[in-house]
């Protein structure tokens, strides 16, 4: 299997103490699987994504183990990770569009990047041209400055650069949030096309927009306040979720076709907990309608049926 994460725990160091951003998370991703990572802001999804590639202060590695293609990924060691970045694991960070050096032509920037991975630009050029064609970008884009490109074009360019060396795992962090509807659709479809053509093996797509995941992800992992809530195939999560948080989350999404006058949707009362001194046990219990005494213990993330995992005492352990 491609990715195996065991008990990964990451804290943020701040003046006021450690923020428990990610607590003992374990899950796995198979070959060719596109997994969506969804949750509200502050749930830890970006922390999870970035920690796999670039774990630097103020993030602190507290414990856990990550295996990529049966090889251990030394995420806590910045230098050792260098040989893995871009080649085995790659990331398209949030705001990637704005991450391109404004004073460099895109082609030059790509050349410098691949050179840092000990690959000659000339060798990679045919692959680069192939990929540009795949994302419907003209070859002339290599001679452009980022400011001359539209948002959608920049996003696609960043996608091409990140997958140039065929990484095993691609982490895409909110790649569609700043795009208009048409570009969103194009970018999402291209990501799936990349996976289909083996430009990358598996992918983690981090977003808060679950309807986008419905269009492209094979499975979805729902997170809440640094803990994993539920992981299952997309259809199961959307149509028959088991975890109370997932159920309430899906219920707050207005689909096109529903109106206020017909069916008033309700939100989830309360707020996510502050992670400076997180509540013990399941972090959703303050807002959960099913909470009972056992919830002060952290529920384990277990497999209830094939490829359907969840962490809830009521729904996943006491099966009745």
């Amino acid at each position: 299997m491609t990715l195996q994460v065991e008990n990964l725990t990451i804290y943020y160091q701040t003046l006021r103490g450690d923020v428990h951003a990610l607590e003992s998370t374990s899950f796995k991703i198979e070959d060719h699987e596109i997994m969506g990572l969804a949750g509200e802001s502050g749930c830890g999804k970006t922390t999870l994504g970035t920690s796999l590639v670039l774990l630097k202060p103020p993030m602190k590695f507290v414990g856990g183990r990550v295996n990529l293609d049966n090889e251990e990924l030394p995420i806590q060691d910045m230098d050792k990770m260098n040989s893995f970045r871009f080649k085995k694991i790659s990331i398209i960070p949030q705001y990637a569009m704005n991450a391109m050096n404004p004073t460099r032509k895109v082609g030059k920037m790509t050349a410098e990047l691949v050179r840092s991975r000990n690959v000659h630009f000339k060798d990679i050029l045919p692959v680069l041209k192939e990929r540009l064609e795949l994302v419907k970008l003209p070859e002339s884009v290599l001679d452009m400055y980022p400011i001359e490109m539209s948002g959608g074009m920049k996003q696609r360019m960043v996608m091409v650069i990140s997958t140039l060396l065929n990484p095993s795992l691609l982490i895409a962090d909110e790649i569609t949030s700043a795009l208009d509807v048409a570009s969103q659709k194009a970018v999402v479809e291209m990501l799936v096309e990349f996976r289909n053509r083996d430009c990358c093996n598996s992918a983690i797509v981090i977003t808060h927009d679950i309807s986008i995941l419905y269009q492209m992800a094979d499975s979805i992992l729902i997170m809440y306040a640094g803990q994993l809530a539920e992981k299952a195939s997309t259809d199961v999560i959307i149509h028959s979720p088991r975890h109370p948080y997932t159920k309430m989350l899906i219920a707050t999404l207005p689909e096109v076709g529903v109106r206020y006058t017909e069916k008033q949707l309700t939100g989830i009362p309360g707020n996510p907990p502050l992670l400076l001194n997180p509540p013990i046990g399941c972090r959703f219990r303050e807002r959960c309608p099913l909470a009972f005494e056992k919830c002060v213990e952290v529920p384990p993330f277990i497999e209830i049926e094939k490829n359907h995992f969840g962490a809830c005492w009521k729904e996943f352990v006491t099966n009745a």
């Binding site: 074009m153 509807v181 989350l249 207005p254 689909e255 008033q264 939100g267």
Partner: protein
Amino acid sequence: MLKLNGISKIYHTGTFGGKELHAVNDVSFDIGEKEIVALIGESGSGKSTIGKMILRLVSVSSGSIEFNGVDVSKYKGAALKEYYRNVQGVFQDPFSSYNPIFKADRIFSFIKEEFFPDVSTSDWNKKLNNSLEVVGLNPEHVLNKFPHQLSGGQLQRFLIARALLLDLKILVADEIISMLDASTRIDVLNLLADLRGRGLSILFITHDLSLAHYISERAVILYGGCTMEMGDAEKIFNKPLHPYTQMLMSSVPRLDRRWDKKVNVDLKAAQTGPIHGCAYYDRCPLAFVKCKERPANVEIEKGHFVACWKVSEKNT
């Protein structure tokens, strides 16, 4: 109540301001009493600019904005202040709407100083608490705090409460929930619908079609600074007539069906510069020669206007 008559916003770019950029190009629509009108467009369509023009934060290059029959587009000073009693706005980023070094309540004290200087403190506090309760906040929990101590949803509601302290008739809500979590979005959205029930009109600016459909009666579809289609929200969503609206509806990610893989989306870079024809000409599959002339807004059925030569041709 509020009527926009052919308003435009032209920015001068290039050296010595030679080139012109039409952010908003001859837009007209109106907002009646007790209704929520959704202004829908992607980024760069000019919808935020229209919102800011209505709020008089950006000047109007041409055209007029009539509020209860009076043109407010050139108002300044005391007249403008009176206008602000009736028309207020809430913006997209809750955290940037507050001065980070001061407490969040400061926005209320500004209102008191400028609009209610003679009201006694106890009366003011009663009014304030009332306003907070209407938006669903507990005064004890949210007063006397700094912006970073409150959540995005609470901050947005604070801003709505501030607007309600005045004699509000129209609220311009510019993407107010796009930065909120899924679980708080619905609450703020329901609040807006609630306020409409109490007599308020709302201009709901958004790029999210499902949200617009959830809450609004009428919708205006904007592209490249021009209106494409406007009318009853239900009609536009279920039977879009303009090719742009149709493309929009098919590209929106939905939870009840997957995308139609056969529909191919063209991705040319956005148009800039003066627009003399239809704004959607470059990307429209139905474009023909007549489209080089700006299409007129034709009433296809009662209350449903479409600006497209092909569509009006088919229907006459």
